[in-house]
């Protein structure tokens, strides 16, 4: 088991290194490094000054050397300065991470709370109207473009009904504390949470339903029924617990993916999370921030995948990891 974890950890680290290099190289291909931008704003700059500045910032080195410098700086804890915000990158990332955690965990929790019972009921009533409608809605949820769904919610709740704000994280300039501050956050987070919940629910409903139907066909369910157990006990103790196994994996993967998937939702609602930071910094050419935000997102996903694999092994003793 430990052997397996260590091997996967090693593998994950390699993947992370490769991705960080690829992202570094791609960002180097983006138009406009700091010196080029200086040149644009000041055409009378002399060529030797440009060369001197490039050498000073290490921009004249080949990509792999620049990547090595960045990597060693980062591992030493020096994340550099943000060109847009004019503060150290470490000062920005923390708050953004908390905001994204708040958004995605609320949505994830809600999605599971709603989707798992729906999936179980749909599976137990396989073929009924309830199953049919649940399936139809799951398909709809899976096909709904999240950005458009967000726009529609803004149109209805912010524009027409005017009950919720169209975007943002907190009321700007508000100095409310305690419960008032919480209520303020709640107002802003509601619509993004709805969008995020709906877009994830679909997958859970379909997975729970599929897993439950599969399990209910097993011989041990028939045995449990044959020995006269109450249906309730058969469903919850014998069936549901086994159906949970694939669900845990999906959950762990989703946990990682919420970081990647939050980008569009956060962008539509101007919610100040890591996803929006990834997008804004890449668009705004804020190189240092982009590298850190992007790679944190990737690392999160890879780590969660690892957790998924390990938890799978704990839950399902049939799987042996060599």
């Amino acid at each position: 088991m430990w052997n397996f974890i260590i091997r996967r950890l090693f593998f994950t680290t390699i993947v992370l290194l490769i991705i960080s290099f690829v992202s570094f190289a791609l960002m180097a291909l983006m138009p406009g490094d700091p010196v080029e931008e200086l040149m644009m704003s000041n055409p009378s700059m002399r060529a030797e000054d440009v060369a001197r500045l490039k050498a000073l910032y290490g921009l004249d080195l080949p990509v792999y050397e620049r990547y090595w410098n960045w990597l060693t700086d980062t591992l030493r804890g020096d994340l550099g300065y943000s060109r847009t915000y004019k503060v150290p990158v470490t000062d920005i990332i923390g708050d953004r991470l908390i905001n994204t955690f708040l958004l995605s965990f609320t949505a994830l929790g809600l999605a599971l709370l709603l989707a798992v019972p729906i999936g179980v009921i749909a599976a137990l009533r396989n073929g009924t109207k309830f199953d049919y409608i649940a399936n139809l809605l799951a398909f709809a949820g899976q096909s709904l473009p999240p950005f458009w769904f967000g726009i529609m919610l803004i149109m209805i709740f912010a524009e027409w009904l005017q009950v919720l704000p169209a975007g943002g994280t907190t009321t700007i300039g508000s100095d409310a504390t305690g419960l008032a501050a919480l209520a303020d956050r709640l107002k802003y987070i509601t619509l993004p949470v709805v969008v995020f919940t709906v877009s994830q629910m679909a997958v859970y409903v379909r997975y729970t339903r599929g897993a439950m139907i599969e399990v209910m066909r097993q011989d041990y369910i028939r045995t449990a029924r044959a020995k006269g157990l109450a249906e309730k006990r058969v469903v919850f103790v014998h069936a549901f617990r086994n159906a949970l196994i694939p669900l845990v994996t999906i959950f762990a993967i989703a946990l990682g993916n919420v970081f990647g998937g939050a980008i569009i939702t956060e962008q539509v609602f101007a919610y100040q999370g890591v996803g929006k930071l990834v997008f804004d910094s890449i668009i705004g050419n804020d190189f240092r921030v982009a590298m850190v935000a992007f790679n944190i997102t990737i690392a999160m996903v890879l780590f969660m995948n690892l957790v998924a694999d390990v938890s799978y092994a704990f839950l399902d003793p049939r799987i042996a990891y060599k």
Binding site: S143, I151, G261, I263
Partner: protein
């Protein structure tokens, strides 16, 4: 299933149906497939939706020509016109069109000038090249005189009238923030969005087949390496990567840069990047199928009667991979469309003025206030088409999977 499981009643029913089907003509695989697919009503309706969308995408130039509108012609005097409104082309554009017509039809122009002089529509001292423009002014100021002139004169005049008629356009769904026809842009947007989805599906199917079949067929070291790469790529969240790829200037890379030149640059870039990040599930499916088929009795039988590797692959492996492959590619096309429209919405996908359903929503957050219809319709189209793709995929899965045949 053991004998004991089947109660005697069903057993006799079974033999009864068996006897019946013996006398029936056996059905071809295709007929069985069509029958199965038709049973999934929602999938059939979805297929119809997709066919309609596909046809309007293919015949977009003709449909738009019939409607008499153009997806890219702007008219700042008629921004945000409501559905069912008409707009008149700005005078400068009208003159440009007339100049172009005169250039392309010198014969007709001469005839038109003659007619105009004969009918005394213009004064004699008017310069010859000004005549069409004067006629256009007459048309606008005094339509009745112009109409009678057209009816009395030769075909040149009616050709000219037909040209002038197109200066006034009817917008079924209104116009957008630049005065462009929304319906025309929707139809052209279908073209781009469906094309990107189809191309991504096609290329990742090829990549998936290539990698999956190689890994499955050769096994051993090749399998190990290819599957590790597949696994690694599968764990990466794709959306942030797409954003980086979209923002990076790939034109700076030597070989790729040359491929990306021209006006279709953003389309090609999207397809290349997306196809290279979506083939992994397909490779896995293909590999799994190839692995199981390789060990099957009928392949062994085929080998015993001396069939070559090639005919085994073509005759046994490909038909068996085909089913799951089609399903996977269909579902992937839905995802591809979701990603393309999402990126285009963020401004990183298909670049304006080319219309895509995603980039039509780029300003949607402001449009919500001024013209909600513009924020609703493109998204609704995306939603409809993606849900249709997903249902068709579901129907295909039911129809192609022999285990799922419901009797």
């Amino acid at each position: 299933m053991t004998e004991n499981n089947t109660p005697p009643v069903t057993k006799s029913q079974n033999t009864a149906t068996l006897g019946q089907s013996d006398t029936e003509k056996s059905k071809s695989l295709l007929a069985l497939f069509v029958e199965q697919f038709a049973e999934h009503k929602v999938a059939v309706v979805s297929l119809l939706v997709l066919v309609c969308a596909g046809l309007s995408a293919i015949f977009a130039p003709y449909i738009v020509a019939i409607l008499g509108v153009d997806p890219n012609s702007q008219n700042i005097l008629h921004r945000f016109a409501g559905p069912g409104s008409t707009s008149i082309m700005p005078a400068v554009q009208q003159e440009e069109r007339i100049e172009l017509w005169v250039e392309n039809h010198p014969e007709l122009t001469r005839q038109l000038v003659d007619d105009a002089h004969k009918a005394e529509m213009v004064s004699v001292d008017e310069l010859e090249e000004d005549v069409p423009f004067v006629l256009n002014e007459v048309r606008q100021e005094d339509p009745e005189t112009f109409a009678s002139f057209v009816s009395q004169s030769s075909e040149a005049a009616s050709e000219f009238a037909a040209l002038a008629e197109r200066f006034e356009t009817y917008h079924i769904l209104g116009t957008d923030e630049l005065g462009r026809d929304v319906l025309a842009r929707l139809i052209y947007g279908a073209r781009i969005s469906l094309m990107v989805a189809a191309l991504v599906g096609f290329f990742s199917a090829i990549l998936g087949l290539l990698f999956g079949a190689t890994a499955g067929y050769f096994g051993g070291f090749a399998d190990n390496v290819l599957m590790r790469i597949t696994d690694a790529l599968l764990t990466i969240p794709t959306l942030p990567l797409y954003i980086i790829f979209a923002a990076a200037d790939l034109g700076k890379i030597p070989v790729v840069g040359e491929m990306l030149e021209g006006e279709n640059q953003s389309v090609i870039k999207m397809v290349v990047v997306m196809a290279s990040l979506t083939w992994m599930p397909i490779a896995r499916i293909v590999r799994g199928t190839v692995l199981s088929i390789k060990e099957s009795e009928y392949v062994l039988a085929a080998k015993t009667i001396g069939l070559s590797h090639f005919s085994i692959v073509v005759g046994h492996v490909i038909p068996n991979v085909f089913g799951p492959l089609v399903v996977a590619v269909t579902l992937l096309m839905g995802d591809a469309m979701l990603i393309e429209t999402g990126l285009s919405f963020l401004g990183l996908g298909i670049q304006p003025p080319m219309a895509s359903w995603g980039n039509m929503l780029q300003n949607a957050l402001e449009l919500v206030r001024t013209m909600p219809l513009l924020a609703v319709v493109p998204g609704l189209m995306i939603f409809l088409v993606i849900i249709a793709i997903n249902f068709v995929g579901d129907g295909l899965r039911d129809a192609l999977d022999p285990k799922a045949i419901r009797r």
